[in-house]
Subunit: 493 residues, 2 copies
Amino acid sequence: MQIEVDRSSREPIYRQLATGLQQRIRSGALPPQTRLPTVRQLAQQLGVTRLTVHSAYAELQAGGWVEATVGRGTFVAERIDELIAPPEAQLGREVSPAGMVSDILRIGQLPGLISLAKADPAHEFFPMRNWQRAIELALEAGGPQLMGYTTAQGEQSLRSVLAEVVRERGVSAGPDEIIVTNGVTNGMSLITDLLARAGDTVLLEQPTYLGMLNILPSRGVRAVGLPMDGEGLVIEALEAALRRERPAFLYTIPTFQNPAGVSMSPARRAALLDLAERHGLMIVEDDIYGRLGHAGASPPSLKAADRSGRVIYLSSFSKSLMPGLRIGYVVAAPELIGRLVYLRQAQDLCSPPLMQRALAIFIEQGWWQSHIKRMLPRYRERRDALLSAMERFFPAEVSWTRPQGGFSCWVTLPRGSSVSDLYMSAITRGVAFTPGEVFSPAPNPQPHLRLCFSAEPPERLADAVATLGGLLRERGGRHGLAEPALSDYVPVV
Amino acid sequence: MQIEVDRSSREPIYRQLATGLQQRIRSGALPPQTRLPTVRQLAQQLGVTRLTVHSAYAELQAGGWVEATVGRGTFVAERIDELIAPPEAQLGREVSPAGMVSDILRIGQLPGLISLAKADPAHEFFPMRNWQRAIELALEAGGPQLMGYTTAQGEQSLRSVLAEVVRERGVSAGPDEIIVTNGVTNGMSLITDLLARAGDTVLLEQPTYLGMLNILPSRGVRAVGLPMDGEGLVIEALEAALRRERPAFLYTIPTFQNPAGVSMSPARRAALLDLAERHGLMIVEDDIYGRLGHAGASPPSLKAADRSGRVIYLSSFSKSLMPGLRIGYVVAAPELIGRLVYLRQAQDLCSPPLMQRALAIFIEQGWWQSHIKRMLPRYRERRDALLSAMERFFPAEVSWTRPQGGFSCWVTLPRGSSVSDLYMSAITRGVAFTPGEVFSPAPNPQPHLRLCFSAEPPERLADAVATLGGLLRERGGRHGLAEPALSDYVPVV
């Protein structure tokens, strides 16, 4: 097996090994169904530990490059052709919210790509040791009960901790006013099932979280977008919409909005709550980025100022800790929670109690809070790297938001630019982003990109922006990118 | 703190301690918000290890008896009144599928009750050490990637293993024909969303799995029950229904049916597939108990004989391993899987990759197979204990099935017996079962109980049956239980 490892490289040896094997599979040197050396053999040959080889094989297996069967060995995957096809053959088949969610989840599994597509926390800083410790502590204390069923509402121990957690966002709720969900997307899906019927309308910010635009049409619910500016949702537009529509609810991300990267101003928040009161509007507040103010400070949640129970509050640990937990939660009146519990029972009974209990312990130990504290300067650094690279590499006609928190930046291209063409070209050059159109229910005259800065180190962000800048300039000539913005140009954010 | 522990008892000391504390909380000796001694203090006072006290506190916390805050200590819960109300105040509020699922999940959290209500694997035999080892191996090999997002279809490594797993049930499928779900209930929920619209009809066995009767009305889908006998689903009844209805699909549990405890005969299986072919009927096969034949042998799955892709196959690890994994799967044609993936994205994006990868490793190590092998004689022993206790303690007018696999036994009472009255009385005496009516979409003239024998040791099963037998005899006098069965009595199983 001709594979070289460079011990002086910053790249871990197991990754070098995995990449080397991928190259040999790609080139055909290792055809489908070839048996690979055993872990022991390869470790001996390369002079590395068995764990290193094991990790490389596990990564290849996870990516579908090889298949392993106990007692028989590890083999190059039979259907490897699908994998070694160029990435654009697998991606971009459908520029729709559903197609894009699918792409974004796949992109995470493709090695080598610089991804600005996914609003993902930085994996390399995941507190793996403390997480493993929390699992051990949970198993020690909880034993087999943690591998049984639990209630659909979620583990009491976690809900008690969550009551403390939301208090820091100004939300006062007991454990009975909380339901644990499989991430925030699941909370939105359950709330949609609870409050909206097929044919109903839901109002939301334009642009908004992709997942919501994926959920609504799957229920036959119509999404109506409302404009935003630098202070967030434009209240006059909401008021006009409320005169026309009787929406099931308004979905909003008031704090560090994804993808726009702006927060709703205090005046707008007050006006929104006032309007909701007058029109009997239910508000679903997604506070997933609420803790992730780059300077540490965050505006208080909408729910904190909700006097009449019109706000249903949602959040999760996917951005502030690790998305693989698949743990989010909804805070609402006990009566609504009771109905969400029934829907949850008719969806999947309950979330894994081990993950819930381990997370409760993780938070009780103070490890979540210290992780956030450690991450905020990192995210600020990455945001700054993205902003200054855009300043340097992007054509003058391109503009963008300057987020004070969260993971994403919203980039506005001049009219007439083809974002899907840029998307496919960028992927071919090893850079992924998300085309702006998938974040809006209605076509937008102005083309946009969402660039997420959270998951890549500053150097790679700069490389990616340089690549995108080059592509934008190339296209500038062809597609009139250099044209001045038209006079009817309305900034979305 | 006046608590006595009995070191000669078979009950673990931490449980004695938890029970002792519960009694003191219940009696008011420890009122709400009382601070409990620290773990160290109580361990010293009682001469037990700190882990023991920690486990007792964790159990109390999990049950909502106490609340703990790092740095402040452990306190008797503020809202303890809700907990110390008699259990019937919390249970049996609603004898409907949704109410009963809720009860069944709660019953698992109530200490002290002998529960024959839940088709739960035996917790005391959960392979906790190997499971923890599998988590460690997964984390070693997969690292932070395991705490990120994964694809909605599920981890490639697990789907490769599942392809092997289903092969042993006669199902030939590649990893791309499999989607990972949050248990089998989630598979059913997604398939219902895929194949049925509000107003549609779904055919199912009567009685059938409670979860399905909970899912269908939540989607506005009508459930129509078909009779069963000792050979399973009555094919003539299906044929008649197919002449009347155009069902979205038929849901069936052909092997070791829950709750009936019978399997569909080979002749019926062949007739069913033939009928499906002729009528263009889709069949959803739930094979969750397929591996759990008490004598080791199981009929092959329906899907194994499906030549025309009319069978969608579902299963999970909740019965054969541990329900807290929340991992099930659906096997279907790639085109259907692709549509389920989109629905999964609009539900909760993906299942926790750590749980998926650890389960893949657990199975690859052969630990799942050896666990099943170890459990089968246990379940047989428990079934036998239940059957002989019923023989001994139940009035002669009561009859029941003799399951060859699975976890549940279906008990038929004479007409006129009030099952909900029995349910409440049994709970007061510390015994839980499930009233039969919740397993059927239409009222049944004959009253039934489901007794699950899987989760309690033989002695406790006998105690529970003795209690139920006593209650049945008491009621016999009042409600005419001793009356001979009427001539129009049709056995449901």
